[in-house]
């Protein structure tokens, strides 16, 4: 996961918090809200679409794997910057059983084509589409924080 952190020294200009059910299609609701904030920041259409896909994947991971007893998905969407919006930060959190991020296996297509299970691409996709990704997981659940900068190509 990315080591640098563009959040430091940036102020929160706007923040939205969502509490959704851990259920199919909630990923769409979360992604639409994130895209609305990205649009407000004048992010390019292609970047907004990448944000949509990354949020969908983070939510699906929680929906599929968290086993959270409260059945909830918590999404925080923040517009960060100095005077102007610079960074979109999205955190998808669940209060589920957690996992060891160090044990995440990077999927590759050659192995997947031979394997009975073709799944396990979520984090690979998120990392490929966002500028920074941080994963924290433990007994209190899992948080995936993703950032995309408005100006970075």
């Amino acid at each position: 996961m990315a080591a640098s952190n563009s959040r430091s020294a940036q102020a929160v200009l706007k923040q939205v918090e969502l509490q959704l059910q851990l259920a199919s299609e909630m990923e769409i609701e979360a992604s639409e809200k994130a895209c609305a904030i990205a649009d407000l920041m004048h992010m390019s259409a292609d970047k907004v679409d990448e944000v949509r896909m990354a949020v969908i994947e983070a939510c699906i991971n929680a929906i599929e794997h968290s086993r959270a007893e409260d059945g909830k998905l918590y999404v925080q969407i923040s517009m960060l910057g100095h005077d102007e919006p610079e960074t979109l930060e999205i955190t998808v959190h669940d209060r589920g059983v957690g996992f060891d991020p160090k044990k995440l296996v990077q999927p590759n297509i050659e192995d997947k084509l031979k394997s009975a299970s073709k799944r396990g691409w979520g984090f690979r996709i998120i990392e490929g589409l966002m500028d920074e990704v941080e994963v924290e997981s433990g007994a209190d659940g899992t948080s995936v924080t993703m950032r995309k900068q408005v100006g970075r190509s």
Binding site: D49, M53, I60, L113, G128
Partner: protein, 116 residues
Amino acid sequence: MTESLSLNVERRDGIAVIYTDGYINNQGGEEIAKVAYELIDEGYRSLLLNLAGTKIVNSIGISILIEIIEKIIEIEGKLAFCNLTPTINKTFHIMGLAQYTSIFDDEQDAVEHLGE
């Protein structure tokens, strides 16, 4: 909420084109696979997935597309995609699908490739 995926199929000379419209998630991927396997059973060895009507996919849906790629490799057929959004195109490259299938901007180029 999103609408479920709908599919249309055009059968041409040796090439079958599947047009998708909607979200390719688990259910959508399964529907595409069902149609693709039916076309293979009919004898088609060249399939084109035209995703012009699909703006959103997820990794579970794409995982099912990988199953179709596996089947196509097994029968020594050809599978191509066209009209992907830039994000879906980028995602296919991140996952390495571009190594095992062909991706085209438009249907005409894809059909020409499959007809070769």
